[in-house]
Symmetry: C2
Subunit: 434 residues, 2 copies
């Protein structure tokens, strides 16, 4: 059944790291989500294994009866975040048969039963989406399915398991063993207590099966994805790779061969200049080669509750939009949610360098020019001596107007011989961008 | 009006580099596109400025009357690839008013009039898509609008002009001047005869206006995007950046400030470890920072007729699907277009290394083992001498079965002391991937 009026009702199955972030967004950012879906979105319930209080969630919404929640008939979208094959498969099937669309982050389920679940979704006329099942926050299934819908993908090469990438990265940085790097990954939360699914390559194989199906419109069974893990990789392999200008990565590949579509996962030597060599730590990176588009690279966080919830919520909004469109309502479009700001307010770090006369008190007079215009300095470095003395300064974020005043002020000093250049500085991660 | 039966009819405006590739795909890959859209797709006509013969196109489909083509009432989707404001604006408007959906790669038009064109599209109930207007083949508008629909984009930082990126890259590699690098870009087809729009930053500003609107649901006017170009950048700036561990890039940024949304384009120092520093040549790269997803990087070809046609065709298929869905037909899903192949057929280059006894004839005996199993060698390198002699070989692409036989054969030789490792080698661009 499809409900045809009122709010969109969303049921969550599971309240682990991804579930908790998804619930937090549904309750805390409801107005924002409503502008995206075109109708209010409300939490119909959260199914958990054992009864417990959930922070910020009305207790009446929490249930241990997941099957009752998904089949009671007033739910538009079910978000399955339990993981594993059962009871996830039964619940997802029951939800679709009760008329709900389904979002899931469950790569094991989709890899094993995706073809059958798509068949049920088509028959029931409901949506089924699982962007979060592959590469966490990195959008890759939707670009493959939609953006490249008029192109012809030829090959998908990816680092799709953050745990093994973190371990191999640590081994390369430290020169240490697989076991040592695995323990560090476990300590930092990048690896499970039982890491078998990750380090054996099985997790990556599940993701490559899903990628191959979407990229190549095929029904490739999971069993046909061969995989090798990284447990046999030792420090000498890593050093040997390094000596050959390479890093070792656990790489998944799917492509068209003369006989059809093939997918596999195994450790590989990746030359340092290759796009996948730059995928560090627990990140995921996927390189898509297509007939017309050439090489496209997608890179970002492959796991983590908050990052993965981004992909879950993206699917949720899309399936909600489809429900709203099915009701005949208008879709949300450019809706002027945010005003646009005056340009003078934007602050950037600036790198300013100039030749100066090398005499006592120069730095004091120059830094006063900055301080008087409210611009503070992050670093100051003098290079060269005497007539060749050059001063290089990096400011904390400052507006263009302030920097223009600073440069005018510097020009009036007798100790500055030439303001040679001022250029904005792009921040590295977690720093101001400018 | 909306047609409700039969083939989807597509009209092309313009037959330049992108138009020619789009026409080629529509005529040459019609069956493939039909499986993606759910209905046959046929060319309704191509409007060109001056009458001429187009290779592979029935002469009766070619017209100089673009207005007549888009208003005659039997066209489902109009693909506008003329560029510039007029007559593109009038034609796109007339097409939508005649009931056609519109795909365009025209960043100038969308940056200047996108808000108004969306208003017309909503009023007419037709689609309007322009993925190709920003970053060529790289899917970024759809990921922002759909994949991140449940997230909150905070900042978009991009290299969105391939011409200036190529010029800056050449200056960094050669130590040469802006003019020299510009001439090289013109010679290679990366810059127009009149390069003003690119080198002034105006082209990048148009793209940042579009990105800002999509990322932040705002109606930011193009006039509010301030921009600076790269014509004043000289060899000493490039050398200075290099000495500071940076490269100079023309960077576009849009973000939320306390006062609203801001967008701007200017040259920046980019630290070498930053994701955008790895965007080389005429490529485009876009870094999206979002509340939940964290940092997402999209990277690929920013221009070129074939690459841009990928984005045009992706939009075209999406708008065609919407027309088909509007007719009540089923959407194309996993359709088993391709079979999946036996794993033994997949060939990879392998890196095999082993310790050998350092005596005459060793290499001949070892290479015979490869040749006898049909595996040819790409490179052979010996390192160390005497008891420490190590041989490192890279094969041409070979199947796993063949490599397994080779390793067994090597183990039987008395001159090989230990087959220490065999690992597949990931190809660099244009090489076999393995």
């Amino acid at each position: 059944m499809k409900r045809t009026t009122g709010a969109l009702r969303v049921a969550l199955l599971g309240h682990g790291t991804v579930g908790a972030e998804t619930a937090r967004a549904l309750t805390g950012r409801a107005a924002e989500l409503a502008t995206r879906t075109g109708a209010p979105v409300e939490l119909a319930g959260i199914a958990v294994r054992r009864p417990r209080e959930l922070p910020g969630i009305d207790g009446s919404l929490v249930t241990t009866d997941a099957h009752g929640l998904v089949t009671r008939g007033d739910v538009d979208v079910v978000v399955e975040l339990i993981g594993g094959i059962e009871p996830a498969r039964s619940l997802v099937t029951a939800a679709m048969e009760a008329g709900a669309s389904v979002v899931t982050a469950n790569k094991a389920l989709i890899a094993a039963d995706g073809v059958e679940l798509h068949r049920i979704a088509r028959k029931q006329g409901v949506g089924l989406a699982y962007e979060a099942a592959v590469a966490g926050a990195v959008p890759v299934l939707r670009p493959l399915r939609q953006s490249l819908a008029g192109d012809r993908p030829l090959r998908v090469t990816g680092i799709v398991n953050g745990t093994t990438n973190f371990i191999l990265d640590r081994m390369a940085d430290s020169g240490g063993t697989f076991q040592g790097a695995l323990h560090e990954a476990q300590r930092l939360g990048y690896a499970e207590a039982d890491p078998t699914a990750d380090v054996s390559g099985a997790d990556a194989a599940a993701k490559m099966a899903i990628l191959a199906r979407i990229a190549f419109d095929t029904e490739l069974p999971l069993e046909e994805v061969r995989f090798e893990g990284i447990t046999h990789i030792g420090p000498s392999d890593v050093a040997h790779a390094d000596a050959n200008g390479c890093v070792i990565k656990l790489v998944g590949i799917c492509d068209r061969t003369p006989d059809g579509v093939s997918a596999r996962v195994h450790p590989m030597l990746v030359p340092r200049g290759h796009a996948l060599a730059g995928v560090r730590g627990a990140d995921n990176g996927i390189l898509v080669e297509a007939l017309a588009a050439g090489e496209l690279m997608f890179h970002g966080a492959g796991a983590g509750g908050l990052a993965t919830s981004s992909a879950v919520l993206g699917d949720l909004v899309e399936l909600c939009r489809e429900r709203v469109a099915g009701r005949g309502a208008a879709q949300a479009e450019l809706s002027r949610v945010l005003p646009h700001g005056p340009r003078s307010q934007v602050a950037a770090r600036h790198h300013i360098s100039m030749f100066v006369t090398d005499e006592p008190g120069v730095l004091s007079r120059i830094s006063a020019v900055f301080a008087d215009r409210g611009v503070s300095l992050e670093t100051v470095r003098q290079e060269g001596l005497g007539a060749e003395a050059e001063l290089a300064l990096v400011t904390h974020p400052a507006t263009d107007a302030a920097i223009t005043e600073v440069i005018a002020g510097l020009g009036e000093l007798t100790c500055t011989r030439e303001v040679i250049r001022s250029i904005r500085l792009l921040g590295t991660r977690k720093e101001p961008v400018g």
